[in-house]
Symmetry: D2
Subunit: 296 residues, 4 copies
């Protein structure tokens, strides 16, 4: 049984002179292993999955397995545009040892991605998948929003076990929770609303900023579980500015820069993404409240 | 000093054979007076303010004053497209005895409603207004979203004392709270996210569904104040389906139909709005959990 | 019979120290009368109709009638949010002598403005109207787009005689023309696509820039009627930069400033609109190709 | 020198039992060779490029080269999300014999795809490319719209020779033409506005429906070149319903079904796309005006 709850970082993928650097990835994971995280997502949006070729993706899948402890959940982001390729990649992830797969909505042919088409897509993948499937809803990247009613249907499949909703829409998140069984794992994918998401019943968060300040994220989750809402709220407000900076404001380039500052190996993203320039001072101010979380 | 917190219904405006029925409005308010509400908003979006002519609006303003007790807050929705007309209507509302005015963003000339233009608009109104001003952000109707940074600026004016944010965006609501002084009153205007809004620090809600089940709304607010988060969460999930039905799903026609069922006088909205047809059964099911709140 | 074709300026409304200046409006119309225009629209979007109170609108309707010659079409923009008020205003316009009324889509309660609701709204208005009705589709202001299929239905009513489509979407305009009878007058409301609109069969244009350079607009229309497509295309490219400046770029404030430069009385718009500052040089460059059109 | 003008079909990619069928692709091209087309695009949106793996894409590139005559333009759609992978694929396309490459805007990380990022992306690709580059703007799929000002900048690079704009926005198309040199080839990518695009100066069209009725598309283009605007307009109106059906209404599944009807080999698309069911009658009606164009 997968313990699907708590905080997961969608791991950034380090490059060295634009070449994949799996050793840096492994060093990062080893450091994160001490932080109380429930598991890891590799090859997600924050992992620049769409910038990696087939060989690189296989290397990432294998490297992560080597260093992720058995008691933590290993999630792999392997959704592709076609049902066929997605099935193939779920098998590859399973063969590499992933515990479950996170499948983004196909989106290029937006106008044709009807509820019916999406249900068939996820149904066919879940049917053939040797590991459980989680659905990934991220309208700001895909231009497609999975409606709570579609998700309710998908949750009826025994091999579809949860969702990461990065819409940031708490009303929708609550509606998903209301419509799905209590063992369907609803993760929020947006750190600025992590606390309200937990308030309405999300099981945890898959949060970019957990690449930077994993302990604070874990602590916020624990406070809510312990009923310490005021303390959780305070942590939420503390992390909002940083969480925004490493996502909507500066994106993966900013995320990697912040990782470097906190003792992880971020480096530069691949183009057309880029590292922010001349903004180290801004970032350093944002990191002040979290400096004791810095690793060596 | 205005006690800006708690639950406010944005009062529906009753019509009889399409003519304004201020007596029905007064009877409704008298019934609501027993429900623990903090105050009332008249002439808001749910009050079909845009369907009333000048004379009718004055009648509503006067009628409400007759029956709203002094210890409750009387808020008037009198924003117009031009700065000039809005100033005039704020004075009319003040003369009629309103305690404060809620001013929707002007929006017809969307492309020109820059941050600068909006700041000047609200600044000029606040300057001339004999009563305090609250800002009303409702992008689903106006197509304009006031950014937290603009709101931060407006909150610096001593006569701009709060905001009703109906975007439903809890991340944005939290950002507004984070950027404004603690005495700037942030109300949420969307009942399906009332509980998470209170969790992140909203002072209350101006909620269409409070026209139908005022006591449940008040109770939810009280539970949060008492630290009873689990109970508040349960109330939130109970009211989501009804709250959606009377707003995004069926609109004011549905809201008024639900009011009729609960013992208030709703009736039909003015055209092009209409009352839902052949949906009484759906509505009755949605009201089952709240029947003991019915008034005579 | 109304001759619905050719170029109409949606007349700007002059103010003097923020007060309505109908004398300036009349002086402007008298100057325009020499320019070959087919008619005039008053109280449209460019006329700041939403900034005028009831009394001011009546004054504009009466003043325009005094100076618009009988052989030109006098169109009044009198659509309101409610069916009831719109009916009333169509009668007022008719009583003031307008030849036809342009009715913008009601839009405040966007989510409820279904095809059915809009058809009933326009149907009821057309039924009661003593003068013919034209539909006004302007999604950039209203957030609502009338679909070609709804327009096809409306065109079946004998008292709905045409449309002004300001979407700028030529594919949609062609679809409207394809689906409506040949005597249904399809006007384009966006000058940067005036020429391609005429190519696909629009009967004319109701164009903000025709407040500034009426003769060039009329000339473009005539060239297409004479089959001189290359010359018409050249005029189109000449006027694009100015047309954009007085609409999407600088709005009514820019439009009025350009009117002043060309010998008409523009002045300042009402707030929250404003006149562009420190941009006279830009504007003067844009006007260079049209200086011989300047009036005294 | 590339002759960049006229009609190009963005070739559909045939599958047989879900496996790539390059023989069918070659048979299709041989049939199209008789139709007066100026060239072909392979691996575009309509070619299900995003559903093909690396090996399949190479096979398509090679197969097309075998049957595309030297005097027609061979264009390859090989844009990827990263600058690095796009550069690699342009080289692969060039090695396979393509004459030029069409590069879609990278779009997954929408928020970070600033004008600056996009200019660097295209600049780096053009710099390293052994063949000329065309830019591909298709906001309905990518959620990103290249502004005319960015395109103006890109047109300054000697190895960026044109654009396919599928926005359907004729105003924008005209603005692109106005801002770029006369030898920068502006193609329209939306058949329902092919005629107005040619009126404002587009050099041709890359049109899905040219997979179905290539001769009608070529004929429309020729009529405009000959100054026969009325005849061209008639052809435009004839093809609108079919063009909409094979794109926005039914997508690639519909396009392939229509190809089958007209004597080409369409078949089924890969999932999650699908072939429309029970709609053959609708389609047959749409094809009636074009039956003499059917091939054997």
């Amino acid at each position: 049984m997968l313990r699907l709850e708590g905080v997961f970082p969608p791991l950034a993928t380090p490059f060295k002179h634009d070449e994949l650097d799996v050793d840096a990835l492994k060093r990062n994971i080893r450091k994160y292993n001490a932080a109380g995280l429930s598991g890891y997502l590799v090859l997600g949006s924050n992992g620049e999955g769409v910038y990696l070729n087939e060989k690189e993706k296989r290397l990432v899948l294998e490297a992560a397995r080597e260093v992720i402890p058995e008691h933590k959940v290993y999630m792999a982001g392997v959704g592709q545009e076609s049902t066929r390729e997605t099935k193939r990649w779920v098998r590859i992830a399973a063969d590499a040892g992933a515990d479950c797969a996170l499948i983004v909505t196909p989106h290029f042919y937006k106008g044709m991605m009807t509820s019916e088409a999406l249900k068939k897509h996820y149904g066919a993948i879940a049917e053939s998948a040797p590991i459980p499937i989680l659905v990934y809803n991220v309208p700001q990247f895909t231009g497609i929003n999975l409606s709570p009613s579609v998700i309710e249907d998908l949750a009826g499949h025994e091999n579809i076990v949860g969702i990461k909703d990065s819409s940031g829409n708490i009303g929708q998140l609550a509606e998903i929770i209301r419509r799905t069984p209590s063992d369907f794992a609803v993760f929020v994918g947006s750190a600025p609303v992590f606390f309200p998401a937990l308030c309405v019943g999300a099981v945890g968060g898959i949060l970019a900023v957990a690449n930077v300040i994993p302990e604070t994220c874990v602590s916020l989750h624990n406070k809510v579980k312990e009923g310490k809402f005021e303390e959780a709220k305070r942590l939420q407000y503390d992390l909002i500015p940083l969480a925004r900076w490493v996502t909507t404001k500066r994106g993966i380039g900013g995320l990697k820069m912040a990782m470097d500052e906190m003792g992880y190996e971020g480096g530069a993203p691949r183009q057309p993404l880029r590292r922010p320039v001349e903004e180290r001072e801004d970032l350093e101010k944002l990191l002040v409240p979290f400096l004791d979380e810095r690793v060596m």
